[in-house]
Amino acid sequence: MERKRGLGFVGALWRVNLLSAMEYRVPFIMQLGGMMLNNVIYFAFWVLFFDRFEEVQGWTLRDMMLLFAVVASGLGLAMMLFGNCRAIARIVAAGDLDRYLALPRPVLLHVLASRSSVPSMGDFVFGLIWFVLAGDVTAAHALRFLLAVVLSACTFTASLVLANSLVFWLRRSELLADHFLNAMITFSLYPGTLFNGAARVFLFTVVPAGLTGALPVEMLRDFDAATLGWLCAGTAVLAAFALLAFQIGLRRYESGSAIVVRI
């Protein structure tokens, strides 16, 4: 039987994820709309804040809108395409990696693409709307925004894979991985200029939230090749570490006998 060895299977997985999510029409629409509403309410705090203070160390309300747009769309894109990046620790702890290892495809890519989060589609759309509302929708600016979103999504995915891969050594690290995601989102949504010195180092290494929010927005505000270079390099290094950690950890995988259905 003739076989295609390309990455077409990833498209088939995304398609079936969407079909699975749309199987229940009302929850699908409610989750999508609910996440967008949630983001709007969260942003209302910053509207009230900037009503009293015109700027925070050089950041205005428009910059905050761009920040929310990049982070929401970046996180949304990551969770839409690679929704399992936040669930690897759970999958490994339950021994559910077996189903991916028994199939002829790269395990990490197969795991990542096997789930799409519906609420994250709401995040993604929210980010696009917020970008438009922030103004300056020229072709060049939109292209830079798209690049920032893609890089932010790659950083979210890579750092979550890295954090979740700790499960291979710790055996149970689901909560740790959840806290890590929360920390990434929280620190991503603060103006980049608020943090200096050790805090800034922390935000570009241990919890690399600087790469998902502050730096992409700096690139959008004043585009220069050096910022883009740093952003690409940081994302590439994180991705390499994530891949390495998963591959090394995979050798320690011990399977399990829990009964898990495929949703």
Binding site: M1, E2, G6, V16, R99, A102, I263
Partner: protein, 346 residues
């Protein structure tokens, strides 16, 4: 590492699985019972190595149907997971269709199909037809090839009325038929089945066995089947491996298994008149007795069949009598007993 397995000329063409001294253990934390035990284990954990399989060696020929039987925790699933490339062994060597599973997993997976009874492959909220098309893409088949193969499998497995029903609405038996069908989508040379009939009723089990037997006979698919249900093995396999406590304790044909361990005959007899009866003959054991009949067991090597029948005839007017071999379950129980193993130990 142990020495590589020696091969005879032309062996690659006939051998599908070659396993030599395969060993695997798991590191497990041991803990005393209760809160105190948990508190102590939190600060001073104690670890121990639990052997899952020990020095297992066997060969399986291409197209052969091999049964792997043993109680829970015997090491059946661990062995099959190593052979699929899911787990790495601690020691020993293995080749499946010429591939070392844990080194050449992806290539091997194109040539084998696997079903894990406890780990469904189908998307729960979608009809099986959607899962079939995803697996077609995963195995690199184009849409036409997938459609042709799905049509064929739908006919063989009689899935016409199940194909467009969400999996969550299928019965366990129907779902398992779809699971086995999807594992055959890419026309594998070898099918590895880990407890495919777990939780199924007798009718559903029989349908699964029939379809697997059909694919084995029609497409020449080799079958390695693990089960703790002796009926699966008896229905599908011509050779059986018995494993217990991680060790291989029997490896031969079904006929040889019966010849060596089928040492008893079972007789069920029913009488016309009511009464209390017993057959006090040396070598005859009464298994059950009722008002109108009884069940006895005897070893035909020590007591003649005609003597037993005469004895039973002397107890009254018989209306029915059947003489049968014990179930495979009983034979397996005998093997465990001979090896001083507890079949319930898991």
């Amino acid at each position: 590492m142990p020495a590589p397995i020696s091969r005879r000329k032309g062996e690659e063409q006939v051998v599908s699985i070659r396993v030599h001294q395969l060993t695997k253990s798991f590191r497990t934390r041991s803990k005393q019972e209760g809160l105190t035990g948990s508190w102590r284990a939190l600060w001073k954990p104690e670890w121990r190595q639990v052997p899952a399989i020990r020095d297992i060696s066997f060969l399986m020929e291409r197209g052969e149907a091999l049964g792997f039987i043993g109680p829970n925790g015997a090491g059946k699933s661990t062995t099959i997971k190593i052979l699929c490339g899911i787990l790495h062994p601690d020691a020993g060597t293995a080749e499946v269709l010429g591939h070392v599973p844990w080194q050449d997993r992806q290539q091997l997976c194109y040539e084998i199909g696997s079903v894990f009874g406890q780990r469904p492959q189908l998307w729960y909220h979608l009809p099986p037809v959607d899962s079939f098309h995803v697996y077609g893409a995963i195995y690199g088949l184009d849409r036409d090839a997938t459609r042709r193969r799905v049509d064929f499998l739908v006919d063989v497995f009689e899935l016409q009325h199940l194909l467009h029903t969400p999996v969550r609405k299928l019965s366990l038996g129907q779902r398992m038929r779809c699971e086995v069908a999807v594992s055959l989508l890419h026309a594998p040379k070898l099918l590895l089945l880990d407890e495919p009939s777990i939780g199924l009723d007798i009718v559903a089990k029989q349908r699964i066995r029939d379809t697997i037997r059909y694919m084995r006979d029609e497409e020449g698919v080799g079958v390695l089947l693990t089960s703790h249900d002796a009926g699966d093995i008896e229905a599908l396999c011509n050779r059986v491996i018995v494993i217990s406590d991680g060790q291989l304790i029997f490896d031969d044909t079904m006929d040889e298994l019966k010849r060596r361990h089928l040492t008893a005959k079972q007789v069920n007899v029913r009488y016309l008149e009511e009464g209390e009866r017993s057959l006090p003959m040396a070598g005859v054991e009464t298994v059950a007795a009722g008002r109108y009949g009884m069940q006895i067991r005897f070893d035909p090597r020590t007591v003649g069949v005609d003597a037993v029948i005469s004895g039973l005839h002397g107890l009254g007017s018989m209306v029915d009598i059947t003489i049968s071999d014990p179930d495979l379950e009983d034979i397996i129980g005998t093997i465990y007993a001979e090896n001083a193993l507890d079949p319930d130990a898991a």
